[in-house]
């Protein structure tokens, strides 16, 4: 009954076209942000930050990036881990090789490098699509896995490709405690989510969706497939690259190429599928779900009394079964369920 838009009249296009046209949504988002920025840092225990919140924030950023490519532009990618790795290692190189490089700049430049690599491996998408593109992106995955392990220059001559960063500082503020890290990642996520939301609402987002829905028809009405696809690859891998840099710098602190293996790529793809293809909101749902499910199963294992190996196998099974379930029953994922819920709520309790 509270969630109702009676009496909210739009008198300008601006008001009609805004991201959250319903006042209650705006209030809810504002409250949620206030809760995330003010309340959570004050009350949450340290374990929660380390194990759930920070991974959730960074992975939802990566899922957001992947969703632009897979969900909005319809180009499948199994190489997300590779683009994350490029972002992380490029940012590391900027940080390690250039004296006095600001952290923000190296993170963003890491994203720029990931963009370049993303566009490079996106070029095959101009001639091939679907399964074939999946193989092309897999090539990116295996190639970067190898490159960061074997080419010593990328890792500043460290053994086994493992690198460490320490003493992170942004604008004079140290990023060391979990709360600071959390707020840092949250800031990134908010900015990028707002940017992504507005991109997909705009001209270019509509081009992506046209290409996704039917590329030939899109080309006929004057959308350049080359431009649309490559921009999708560029934007997507930029966001994924920044997420990768954050994952390495903020979450892990020291990492090796295995942190961005093919499992990471699959994990992100699962987030996008379960959360909802073609939905910004869905990326958050998917990331939350996939970050928390293994932890929940582990906890369940501790209370019920099965061992961690079984818990990890169960995780595999549940992921697999859920992927199939969502593809069959609800291809738009959790985000669709959410919006169905909202629709119902608008009419509740008198659905006629």
């Amino acid at each position: 009954m509270l969630y109702r838009e009676n009496g909210q009249f739009k008198t300008s296009y601006r008001a009609d076209q805004q991201v959250f046209p319903i006042a209650q949504d705006r209030i809810a988002i504002g409250l949620l942000l206030a809760f995330a920025i003010v309340v959570v840092p004050a009350v949450a225990p340290e374990y929660l930050f380390r194990a759930i919140l920070i991974p959730f924030l960074i992975l939802s950023l990566a899922a957001l990036g992947l969703n632009i490519l897979v969900g909005y532009c319809g180009q499948i990618s199994l190489g997300t881990g590779a683009f994350m790795a490029v972002g992380a290692y490029a940012a590391y190189n900027f940080q390690a090789r250039i004296e006095g490089m600001p952290l923000l700049a190296s993170l963003l430049l890491g994203g720029v490098c990931a963009t370049a690599v993303g566009v490079l491996f996106g070029i095959p998408s101009l001639r091939i699509k679907g399964l074939y593109l999946a193989v092309a992106t897999l090539a990116a995955q295996f190639f970067t896995d190898w490159a960061f392990l074997r080419i010593k220059w990328f890792t500043n001559d460290s053994a086994s490709g493992s690198v460490t960063v320490a003493g992170l500082k942004v604008l004079g503020q140290p990023i060391e405690t979990p709360v600071q890290k959390y707020l840092f990642c949250l800031g990134f996520l908010i900015v990028f989510a707002a940017l992504a939301k507005n991109l997909v609402r705009g001209h270019i987002g509509r081009e992506w969706m046209a290409i996704r829905d039917m590329d030939v028809a899109a080309a006929v009405i004057g959308i350049r497939p080359v431009y649309a696809k490559l921009t999708a690859f560029a934007v997507s891998s930029f966001i994924v690259g920044v997420a990768g840099a954050l994952w390495g710098f903020v979450h892990l602190g020291s990492w090796e190429p295995a942190a961005f293996s093919i499992d990471r790529s699959f994990q992100l793809l699962f987030m996008v599928i379960i959360g909802g293809l073609g939905s910004i909101m869905g990326s958050f749902f998917g990331a939350a779900f996939i970050v928390m499910l293994p932890i929940a199963l582990d906890l369940l294992g501790v209370t019920v009394g099965f061992d961690t190996a079984l818990a990890s196998h169960l995780t595999f099974m549940i992921f697999g079964a859920l992927i199939v379930f969502f593809l069959i029953v609800e291809p738009h994922g959790l985000a669709r369920l959410w919006s169905i819920g909202k629709e119902k709520l608008r009419l509740w309790p008198f659905p006629h």
Partner: protein, 309 residues
């Protein structure tokens, strides 16, 4: 020269094994248009089933003879794979008829994860041995031609022969039997095949069972070579470029693609890899396939069914 030949033969043998897995991909793609990402998981699942049944059945029934035990285990594992095929058709593919290729691909990714988890839950997740009596000792060829000759694992040779036999049998099955004809009809056009009375569902169960059989054979060979363990399901990722190279719809393509990738991998590792840091095996096949895609997207022997953009 001897060293070159040795690398070459090593590559050919490895390639034969890749072909075995690639064969599973091709069969399913031909008959149902599904790019089966779960082939690797099926190999692992089948190998796990085989390894464990070979342990359990002789113990449970008190059979002494190793051959009988292995045969029974093989039969049991095959039954399990048929059950998997039936369930996949019933629960997944049957519900996703007429969906886009990408959706189906992601669905098989889900199947792969499920099978990985399920197999390790019921069969255990240690490293198991499969011993079907493949000889392990190496042998030497051309000893009269080169000093020292060319070293070849006998096991690899047997594996190659088995793979070749399998391909011949499958080609016969596809070309000469009524079921094979039905399979090819379904591959050409689902609707037309259905309209002349070919039961689509049963065909899919059959083709997934055949792919399960291929997975079982590949699993036994790989398993007896490397031991049955989780990394077996990653071997399938190696077979992807093979299929791309050979063409998604061609059985001979899978074989030749496998050989090219196997040889290319070994030779490049030896002659290029040593110059740029080594370990290039893991991406060489992919980059080769990628370059190939740009020039000839349908692969060496595939049909031109790719939609160009």
């Amino acid at each position: 020269m001897g060293f070159f030949l040795e690398t070459l033969f090593g590559g050919l043998m490895a390639g034969m094994l890749y072909s075995l897995i690639a064969l599973g991909f091709v069969l399913i793609f031909k008959a149902s248009g599904v790019f089966n990402f779960a082939q690797g998981a099926m190999v692992l699942f089948a190998a796990l089933a085989m390894a464990r049944f070979a342990e359990w059945i002789p113990k449970g029934l008190g059979i002494e003879s190793k051959i009988v035990g292995n045969l029974l285990a093989f039969a049991a594992a095959m039954l399990v794979m048929i059950a998997v095929a039936w369930l996949v058709e019933k629960l997944v593919l049957g519900k996703l008829v007429n969906q886009e290729g990408i959706t189906l691909l992601m669905a098989t990714l889900g199947i792969a994860y499920f099978l990985d988890g399920f197999g390790q839950t019921i069969f255990g997740s240690d490293i198991y041995k499969i011993d079907v009596g493949l000889p392990k000792d190496p042998m030497f060829l051309f000893e009269s031609v080169f000093p020292g000759g060319v070293l070849i694992g006998k096991e690899d040779l047997y594996a190659a022969v088995i793979a070749a036999a399998l391909v011949a049998a499958l080609s016969l099955f596809f070309q000469k039997t009524a079921t094979g004809r039905a399979l090819r009809a379904v591959a050409d056009d689902h609707q037309a095949a259905q309209s002349i009375g070919i039961p689509l569902n049963r065909i899919w169960v059959i083709v997934w069972s055949v792919a399960g059989f291929v997975a079982l054979v590949a699993g036994i060979i790989w398993g007896s070579k490397l031991g049955v363990q989780f990394s077996l399901s990653l071997v399938a990722l190696k077979a992807l470029p093979v299929v791309i190279l050979g063409g998604l719809t061609s059985v001979p393509g899978a074989i030749i693609g496998g050989l090219i990738i196997g040889v290319g991998e070994k030779l490049s590792e030896v002659y290029i890899g040593s110059k740029i840091g080594g370990g290039i095996e893991i991406w060489f096949a992919y980059v080769l396939a990628l370059l190939f895609l740009l020039v000839r997207p349908q692969g060496l022997f595939g049909e031109k069914i790719i939609d160009r953009v």
